[in-house]
């Protein structure tokens, strides 16, 4: 699979990584990575979520140093301790998320940090000329005098690329640059990238969209689980082979046997669009089954879950729960009362209250059932029920006492509390889980899978499980829907489960 170890330093390599390893407490993000990037090339890095692409960039741009290994820049070994050092050496990066100053114009953003001042006052003409020259050189078409906040997504992207180019980098890293662009803009972007390449700058292009990678990249490196699996010239890499390199063929975890019998239709979504991300999503979940939802970041899975739960409005289409349509008037609280529970992804941002205790974090979903005199919370009862859930065979959370601060728990236990919050509430009909095993170890994952199977076996409950871990979904689901670019690109029954097929539909 490898194209051989790089034993001699390539003379036209502008960047060379040798033996780069990055270890975080408990996890190895990069393992012995050898990589070279040449002048005048667009080098694509592809891989699934968690393959190590972001960590690789962070190491190259100096956000943190590698645990082992050396970086060679223009032939010399370097140690970067700060991103600004990388920038001054000629390594620039454009991130997935925008980092522009909305109140400044395009030109001002481009020349940010490189302005010239006369007697303390910024020379705007100089900035403007700099921005214009860059724009010409690269063939971009974007207004320079409009406030960045008023520009469209692709225009903002272009401004950011120009801003990176203002530092005259020899290496430009683009992280998922097409994430928020439409087809036309993508073509414009590619023209610009080709110009940049001709100019002599090396480009690292990170993406999971194989179509685009194949049309812009000269070489493709596939990463998986922190390792570089292969590097091949684009014309020589067969798409099927590429996908094979991306996925893990071995399914180490064992999943509980799927024996559910499906009952009535719990959730029926038809042609759901939200005017922004989702387009005509049609999907059903029956009681007694676990329905998996696979897709890459940005595919619209979480957005769909938010529509079902009432946190996001659908502009189009219909969602029916137990036969009855859900309207915008059905608030999230009302949908919870009807039995639709959502365990959100990103527990730090959307799930846990960091200032609260374990008790308070768990009971927050069923406080209304703990009302005592004058609306005060029945604390003894609360404690009992919280302990009951957390100590249950399904969850077995490790903690000292329920009044501990939630932040004292490990990630895996925090995730279990998130699950416990909803398991502890009665009346569950449809459980939507968004990345439910995020951050928990193999043993705990198994427990969660068993819990899911157990719940599904209670005939009135259906589960919709959104996950980026394909093996996990294949192991526990009865059916899998594949999302791509906000729409359902495929539905597979258990008999048809095939990693390559599913991944193909997701890319």
């Amino acid at each position: 699979m490898n194209d051989g170890t790089i034993s001699e330093r390539k003379t036209d390599s502008v960047l060379e990584l040798r033996g780069i390893t990055k270890v975080f407490p408990g996890i190895v993000a990069l393992s012995d990575v050898h990589l070279d990037v040449r002048k005048n090339e667009v080098h694509a890095i592809v891989g699934e979520n968690g393959a190590g692409k972001s960590t690789l960039c962070n190491v190259i741009t100096g956000i943190f140093p590698p645990t082992h290994g050396t970086i060679y820049w223009k032939g010399e070994a370097i140690r970067i301790t700060h991103p600004s050092e990388a920038l001054s050496m000629g390594i620039a990066m454009v991130y997935q998320e925008r980092n522009l100053i909305p109140g400044l114009t395009g030109a001002q953003n481009i020349s940010l940090g490189m302005e010239r001042a006369r007697v303390g006052l910024i020379d705007e003409a100089y900035s403007r000329k700099m921005a214009e020259a860059l724009r010409e050189r690269v063939g971009a078409r974007v207004p320079l005098d409009v406030q960045a906040g008023n520009l469209g997504a692709s225009q903002q992207q272009m401004i950011e690329i120009l801003r990176a180019l203002a530092h005259r980098p020899q290496l430009l890293i683009l992280d998922e640059p097409t994430a928020s662009l439409d087809r036309n803009d993508i073509e414009c972007l590619f023209q610009v990238v080709r110009h940049i390449r001709e100019d002599g700058t090396a480009v690292i292009f990170i993406s999971h969209k194989l179509d685009e990678v194949y049309s812009i990249a000269d070489r493709i490196s596939v990463f998986r689980d922190g390792r570089r699996i292969s590097t091949t010239a684009t014309p020589e890499l067969n798409r099927g082979t590429c996908i094979k390199h991306m996925i893990n063929r071995e399914m180490v975890e064992q999943y509980p046997k799927v024996t559910s019998q499906q009952g009535r239709i719990l959730l029926a979504a038809r042609d759901v669009s939200d005017g922004r991300t989702l387009t005509n999503v049609t999907l059903t979940v029956k009681s007694g089954e676990i329905v998996g939802v696979y897709g890459l970041v940005g595919a619209g899975r979480t957005q769909f879950a938010e529509v079902v739960v009432g946190l996001r409005r659908a502009s189009h289409g219909e969602v029916r729960f137990e036969g009855k349509p859900l309207t915008p008037r059905d608030s999230p609280a009302m949908r919870i009362r009807r039995g639709i529970f959502l365990i959100p992804e990103d527990r730090r941002r959307k799930g846990l209250f960091s200032a609260f205790s374990i008790r308070e974090n768990t009971s927050i979903s069923f406080l209304e059932t703990l009302r005592g005199f004058f609306g005060l919370i029945k604390r003894k009862e609360e404690k009992r029920r919280v302990q009951q859930v957390l100590d249950s065979a399904m969850l077995r959370v490790t903690y000292n006492n329920v009044d501990q601060g939630i932040e004292e728990l490990s990630g895996g236990n925090k995730q279990k509390v998130m699950i416990g919050r909803w398991i502890g509430r009665t009346g569950l009909r449809l459980l939507i889980m968004d990345e439910p095993t995020q951050g928990i170890d193999v043993g705990a994952k198994r427990e969660v899978y068993n819990m899911m199977r157990e719940l599904a076996e209670r005939q009135e409950i259906g589960i919709l499980c959104i996950s980026s871990e394909l093996p996990e979904l294949i192991g526990i689901s009865d059916r899998i829907y594949v999302f791509r670019d906000g729409a359902v690109s495929g539905e597979l029954g258990r008999a048809e489960f095939n990693q390559e097929e599913i991944l193909r539909r997701a890319l």
Binding site: F24, I27, A333, R349, I377, N400, L409, S410, G412, G439
Partner: protein, 334 residues
């Protein structure tokens, strides 16, 4: 992702560290006791029952207002109009009385006016989306202006007040306990029960701590914020009518002096028990600290301007120590 192989519970803080944490959490209460003792030693009449009641009476108005502000800050917002609102309610009660309105009715209307203004604040902030500081700043201006208009620009003294007018401000229960103290006690208990032990109170802290997570759990964030501002309005109204009764007049400037101490008390209270989160019990203790300081200074003949200097220092030291020790600052939520 990285946490899954570390021990399931982070190692407990060393026992000595636990002691430091406890010290930090109860520091404000400890300071209260120390201050009390110091002043009692310096000036023996300080610790006499009558003076103690004086202290709590002084704390009462600040207490009512800061309990209200605690609600608002805990939900993640701010309200700078409370002082002007209490002035407005107080002035309104006097104006109504001067026009022959029944005493209890006048009080009721004035308090309801407070509730109404609180609702208006909530509307501006929750529905229109005006940032809370700006919205309440604008309201403050309006209230001050209206109060001045009602009093014709001067202090209103009624020729004769209905009997019972002084009851809530200047009277004594059992010949010893000033009535404002009773009000503070009653509302204090109610607010502690509400914020710390009731569902809505828990929701208030939830919204302040993580509004996104609160939404995901089905909490009606708008409703909860609304409730907070209404409570602030109610308490400001009550404080206003007590003030009017205390001073025996409708003074369009009577609330002004409370702006600083109330804000200080609210954030100083955050240090007590909750390591940087505003909370009701902390606020009460902080009010007592400020009142003890003020009263103590008077009793020991410290120049009056020292009060503000010390208040400022106390706040900075208290909040600063939380920020340094905990690595994060005081807030209404996280």
């Amino acid at each position: 992702m990285s946490e899954n192989r570390s021990p399931s519970i982070r190692p407990r803080e060393k026992p000595s560290q636990g002691f430091i944490v406890a010290l930090r959490r109860y520091a404000v209460a400890v300071v209260l006791v120390i201050l009390f003792v110091v002043f009692a030693v310096l000036e023996p009449s300080f610790s006499q029952a009558q003076n103690v009641f004086n202290i709590v009476r002084q704390a009462s108005i600040i207490g009512l207002l800061s309990l209200g502000l605690t609600c608002v800050v805990s939900v993640g917002e701010f309200d700078i109009s409370f002082a002007a609102l209490s002035t407005f309610s107080g002035v309104m009660s006097v104006v109504l009385l001067m026009n022959g309105v029944n005493l209890y009715l006048a009080w009721l209307i004035s308090v309801l006016a407070g509730v109404l203004v609180g609702s208006l604040n909530a509307l501006n902030i929750v529905v229109l989306g005006i940032p809370s500081f700006i919205a309440t700043l604008g309201m403050q201006s309006i209230l001050l202006g209206v109060s001045r208009y009602f009093t014709g620009g001067t202090v209103l003294y009624a020729a004769e007040y209905p009997r019972g007018f002084e009851a809530i401000g200047r009277a004594l229960v059992f010949h010893t306990i000033p009535t404002p103290v009773i009000s503070f006690l009653v509302f204090g208990i109610l607010l502690v029960l509400f914020l710390e032990f009731s569902r809505s109170g828990r929701y208030i802290y939830s919204v302040g701590g993580n509004p996104e997570a609160a939404r995901h759990v089905g909490i009606n964030v708008r409703k909860i914020k609304f409730i907070s501002f209404v409570i602030m309005g109610l308490l400001a109204g009550v404080a206003g009518i007590i003030m009017a009764s205390m001073f025996g007049s409708g003074n369009p400037g009577m609330g002004d002096g409370y702006l600083s101490p109330v804000i200080i008390a609210t954030f100083l209270g955050a240090v007590f028990l909750k390591d940087g989160l505003t909370n009701s019990r902390g606020t009460i203790v902080a009010c007592l600290v400020l009142a003890v300081l003020e009263n103590g200074f008077v009793m020991t003949n410290v120049p009056y301007y020292m009060k503000e200097v010390v208040q400022g220092f106390v706040l900075l030291i208290a909040v600063g120590s939380v920020a340094v020790l905990k690595g994060q600052s005081v807030s209404g939520g996280k």
